[in-house]
Symmetry: C2
Subunit: 540 residues, 2 copies
Amino acid sequence: MLSTMQDDQLSLAHLLRHGVRMHGDSEVATWTGSGSRKTTFDRIGRRSAQLAHALRELGVTADQRVGTFMWNNAEHLECYLTIPAMGAVLHTLNIRLFPEQLVFVVNDAQDHVVVVDGSLLPLFARQLPEMTTVRHVIVTGGAAGALDAPSGVTVHSYDELLDGRPETFEWPEIEERSAAAMCYTSGTTGDPKGVVYSHRSIWLHSMQVCMTDSMRLTDADKALVIVPMFHAMSWGMPYAAFMVGTSMVLPDRFLQPGPIAEILAEEKPTFAGAVPTIWQGLLQHLDANPQDISHLREVVVGGSAAPPAMMHAFEERYDVPVLHAWGMTETSPLGSVARPPKAAKGEEAWRYRYTQGRFPASVRARLIDDNGDEVPWDGESVGELEVKGPWITGSYYGGADPDKFHDGWLRTGDVGKITPNGYLTLTDRAKDVIKSGGEWISSVDLENAVMAHPAVAEAAVIGVPDEKWDERPLVAVVVREGEQVTAEELRTFLADKVAKWQLPEHWTFVDEVPKTSVGKFDKKRLRAAHAEGKLDIAHF
Amino acid sequence: MLSTMQDDQLSLAHLLRHGVRMHGDSEVATWTGSGSRKTTFDRIGRRSAQLAHALRELGVTADQRVGTFMWNNAEHLECYLTIPAMGAVLHTLNIRLFPEQLVFVVNDAQDHVVVVDGSLLPLFARQLPEMTTVRHVIVTGGAAGALDAPSGVTVHSYDELLDGRPETFEWPEIEERSAAAMCYTSGTTGDPKGVVYSHRSIWLHSMQVCMTDSMRLTDADKALVIVPMFHAMSWGMPYAAFMVGTSMVLPDRFLQPGPIAEILAEEKPTFAGAVPTIWQGLLQHLDANPQDISHLREVVVGGSAAPPAMMHAFEERYDVPVLHAWGMTETSPLGSVARPPKAAKGEEAWRYRYTQGRFPASVRARLIDDNGDEVPWDGESVGELEVKGPWITGSYYGGADPDKFHDGWLRTGDVGKITPNGYLTLTDRAKDVIKSGGEWISSVDLENAVMAHPAVAEAAVIGVPDEKWDERPLVAVVVREGEQVTAEELRTFLADKVAKWQLPEHWTFVDEVPKTSVGKFDKKRLRAAHAEGKLDIAHF
């Protein structure tokens, strides 16, 4: 039996029109290094129409991909809204990709036009000759003249291109499952993989961001959007803001603690979102240069686990509650949010807040063990997290890496446990967990336990092959300068800290733990060193 | 270009599982006349599984319709969740329908099973012999034995039917556009018309109810759901509650001001929803029997216009903000919510709060004049409100009354104006507005202006045919007992209150204004009386 409801399509063209019409006076401030330049949703609506006319003229029809290589600013926001609303596909380019990765993603997506921040032009220009499908480069900030374009590529000034064009546009009707935007994940292995969001997925995700169990954005909020618009869609905040009229503050390229503190002082946002590193840096800055930031009713932290000490510092020293959330590019990214259950108070509430959080109704979750079976939500059993829902990726662009999907669910690559009432705690990456006799040992937990010893500077744990147990942990220890410690002493130190069957038998001392370009332990290199017999190991 | 997002279906089976698993300890209290009987989402989940097994056994497969003839209570909530989650269609029967209408809707929907409140059994039983498709009647509250069923109909006790059945159920996968629930509108003319909600429409509507621009329900709330579950899906509150874990208080049949006050004192809900009549009655009761109700963080009023004086009384005397909202059965019902814009303060904020409110992003609106053209949103131009969106009806069940739809938009039958920033004020019903020389005169505005005269008890205004202007207003006046007033005096009284061209030329004095069964002016009868020349009219 069919319903009698209208078959109305969720479309970002509606979102743009809605935000402009209902919340025309909501503001967008872009930081300039000294003060903000300001615009309104109404003006953004008119500029978006001009941009749409310009892009049509450059041959952007149907679902062509338009790249953006930009900081968080008003022009990027105009691209965010215009490109999907005209039926094309916004492709946000991560400015921190390795050069060959940047070339790969532009060519893979077949970007026809790329909008580039004037300040990022030198970085972009070096790879432009290798970008085979790009025909037009649009440069913001009046730096267009600085680009000596390869043959076949036309360079435009963003402002000049928009100037004088009509301030209304006939936004098309769009089928909600059409592509609206795409973003590549920058994995440590292999080529980046494309995630293609739909109008439907972005619409639903935007509603979720404004729901009470998530970020609770309102039209009375002013959101400081620190998390880059070139990474995981800036956590969906720009679209959510247009849904309810939230004013925005965009930091442009000023992401150091000093400028962020200045932006806070000047704009007094009520909400902000950023990764832990940003908050840690700001905290150190504020501790040295005290400033009232209690105008922030809440800040959200995601991207990697928020250290509890940092959460306490913001709340107790600065009266700013920190909301921990988990997600990834493949989950749009809102996956779970750590609002404690109503009954939890004091320490109990804090324990919930340290977790990665609870899943909203639209995100289903399960933990899967080595046999592909579900493990219970008992707060202890560990498995790989798999998720399902209308804003969760079901495949990668072009069908890359099909192993990341399991019966229609996304394998997150994260290992963790879930409480009976649905709170997730991640304990390790699936590729790093040590699989010992059918049980999983968290490499992260062992590392933290070893690093708690005063003589240990760093410790990295990997799984090494074992005839009886499949895998057993190997600990690579960097001893603190001027200290001394033996493997035996460390084993004794661990004895009352981890379960007996988890106690590592294999130990090695190294000068340093190999690191990736972003400073994480590079366990791949450690595994290779072990395989090649380059490590001097003590066995127990 | 297709997105890579999962094609995940929005389904009330997910909603039921989510609420039970994540918010198992959220409470549902049903008032008994003296105290509440309590249950939890967890227990409701187990009872829902039992109910699903029972309904399967009674032959409810695929999309059969299951009727409910019930007050707001835990059993009705179990039906709300179970019937759609098992893939069948919940058909809420309005207990206040005329007997012939009740028979019509049950037969039209082909209800196979009906769940009936024990206390409503006598009312239902009288019409049962005429319900041609009903095979099973399930009676709550242990009154099953009281029903002498017609041949071919089996009577069951709700509790006995569920007893001992498995507490888990394999909820099916459901296509999101499938019918989930249906509700008939009880128009004053013609047969009731069926509105069939989908899983998708209910899911999206539930998200909206929990968004910051709507009711903001959270898991810390306890919502007193006064608006009947047999009318406009109880404004979607039961489903929204399951989405975020809001505890509920259900008043069962105790809807008089005294019992409502008792429920407030006992349960201390934080939120409540009801029509203005309920709130007016409660206000009078509280003024006579003072009681602290400041535990209500907000109450929502809809169904008909909230009198400003009542809104002020609750806020200023009882510290309870009143949120005005507009909707109808055809709009699921959330259409607009009167949260003032962020910048409005004091009197200006109040003026916004008196309106029917602003449309959320998922609801598009337009005002259409007699020529089918859109009128501007200037806060003055008047037209019939038409709406479009994923939880708005696109047709009636069986294709009834196709004139209510216009190019895929729903014609609401309401006439009003919209401010540039999207706030709706309804001024009249489309069928009552007086169309004079291409301009529309609000019958309601004229009535209020005449009734402001101290000698007038009541006044009803209808349009009567006019050769030159098409229609002109006729005022039917009931003079207050012991008072005297002439039509000439009333015209003079109106002169500085309405535009000159709106001033009525036709006046009649009547003993009483004919009323409908629910106490509204019956203008149809007044028009008939005029057409038959039964009114004694003074012309100017």
